[in-house]
């Protein structure tokens, strides 16, 4: 799926994705030549179709996480189906969590908590952030476009 700027005969590039929380999705595309913008708006059904395919318009901001679709989409899950490894994954490396960030993580449903923790851990590792704080979590949500997490 591509959008073409007819005036410039150029493929428009993805610029921004918005998930306002009502099931709709807005994806903004920009012409690389004339900078004209256009937006694709999907209704909840269309958004769900995209979600079901396991793809993200605009590309992935983080690699697909293990069983992400199942964990994000399943209704009535067994909350404690997943548990943390007895030895933390090496991917955590030297990253530690502040008390406040740990408390905030505790508010994430257990079914997806391990996956969410991993995403923040990888975000911090890539940016050489040693301590994950609520501020780091906020920044990651914005940077990574984690509106649905």
């Amino acid at each position: 799926m591509k959008f073409l700027c007819l005036a410039c005969d150029a493929v428009m590039a993805f610029a921004e994705r918005q998930l306002p929380g009502d099931g709709t999705l807005t994806a903004v595309f920009t012409c690389p030549d004339c900078k004209r913008e256009m937006a694709l708006l999907t209704n909840p059904m269309e958004t769900q179709m995209i979600t079901s395919l396991g793809v993200e318009i605009g590309g992935r901001t983080v690699p697909p996480q293990p069983m992400q679709q199942t964990r994000m989409g399943l209704d009535s899950p067994l909350e404690d189906a997943f548990e943390a490894p007895t030895t933390p994954p090496a991917a955590d490396g030297p990253v530690t969590w502040s008390v406040e960030a740990t408390e905030r993580l505790e508010n994430v449903p257990r079914f997806v908590r391990g996956m969410v923790k991993r995403i923040y851990g990888e975000y911090a590792m890539e940016r050489e952030i040693r301590v994950i704080t609520p501020e780091v979590m906020d920044r990651a949500r914005t940077d990574l476009g984690l509106e649905d997490m």
């Binding site: 979600t51 395919l53 293990p66 069983m67 989409g73 548990e83 991917a91």
Partner: protein
């Protein structure tokens, strides 16, 4: 003119397939247990075959692809086991005889049907796609490691066989489970046709509930009046890999998470011995690291 949009949706889908392929690369043989017909005992055959192979020293995993009617979590004694968030993916629990397993039973609250978040209307439009994604994640996101066999229990419906083959186009083999009834014959024949059209080369018939037996019986007694198993092998030209009689005691053991498989010299045990022999000899696959 650049054709990149920043989305690359096709590449994302191909990436999903590549992850399935990479994960299964360390598995000697992926074998589907299918039928097309419901109620023929596919899951019980899968569980008992899995433990039979494991007791021979094989490393065995089981995927319960029956997402809406899962039972292998229970049959393999996995209920209550946790999935572990490992660095390479989700670590599956080990059940009976060390068989690794993944089932939607491990993810759902007791008595909760498989349901998805999303718009309430017209769920049929996207639900099938979502379930296909769940099966894909069972294959690609679970750390199966080096296995000799990964058995995949396919739910009823010839379309479900196609869904599996979309993800695993060249399984080492497919066991087609049937029972003697005439009704099963017509349905299972369609499944065989779809498997052949998909180019699956190694297909074996498993005649389940071929009779009625008990641990002390020397010969099984007839259970169905039909002759569907023999007729299926004749009409399809496929080989009968095993005939498995119904043994209530063994059925109870399977239901309790303690499948007997080829554990003794009973008629039931000998049947699974024969099936395990046939799988070892007749299914393709490749060598994996010891």
């Amino acid at each position: 003119m650049s054709h990149e949009t920043g989305s690359e949706l096709l590449e994302q889908v191909l990436g999903q397939r590549a992850r399935v392929s990479a994960r299964l690369d360390t598995i000697g043989a992926v074998i589907a247990v299918a039928s097309g017909k419901g109620g023929v005992g596919k899951s019980a055959v899968t569980a008992n075959l899995a433990v039979s192979l494991a007791r021979r020293g094989a490393r065995v995993g089981v995927v319960d692809a029956d997402l809406n009617g899962p039972s292998l979590g229970r049959m393999l004694g996995l209920l209550g086991s946790k999935l572990v968030d490992g660095s390479e993916g989700v670590l599956p629990p080990a059940g009976a005889d060390g068989v690794l397993g993944m089932s939607s039973e491990l993810l759902l609250q007791e008595d909760a049907p498989l349901r998805w978040k999303g718009p309430d209307s017209d769920r049929f439009i996207w639900q099938g796609v979502t379930e296909a994604a769940m099966l894909r994640e069972f294959l690609s996101d679970v750390v199966w490691g080096e296995l000799d066999y990964l058995l995949v229990d396919i739910p009823p419906g010839t379309d479900k066989i196609g869904r599996f083959l979309d993800l695993v186009p060249t399984p080492a083999g497919v066991l087609v489970v049937t029972i003697p009834s005439e009704v099963a014959l017509s349905v299972v024949s369609r499944s065989v046709t779809s498997l052949r059209e998909a180019g699956v080369e190694s297909i074996g018939i498993v005649g389940n509930m071929s009779g009625y037996t008990s641990p002390d019986a020397e010969q099984p007694l007839p259970l169905f009046s039909g002759d569907g198993i023999r007729r299926l092998t004749e009409s399809t030209g496929l080989e009968l890999w095993a005939e498995i009689p119904f043994d209530p005691g063994m059925g109870s053991r399977t239901d309790r998470g303690d499948p007997a498989g080829a554990s003794d010299d009973s008629v039931f045990g000998r049947a699974f011995q024969a099936l395990a022999d046939r799988v070892e000899q007749g299914v393709g696959g490749r060598e994996v690291a010891p």
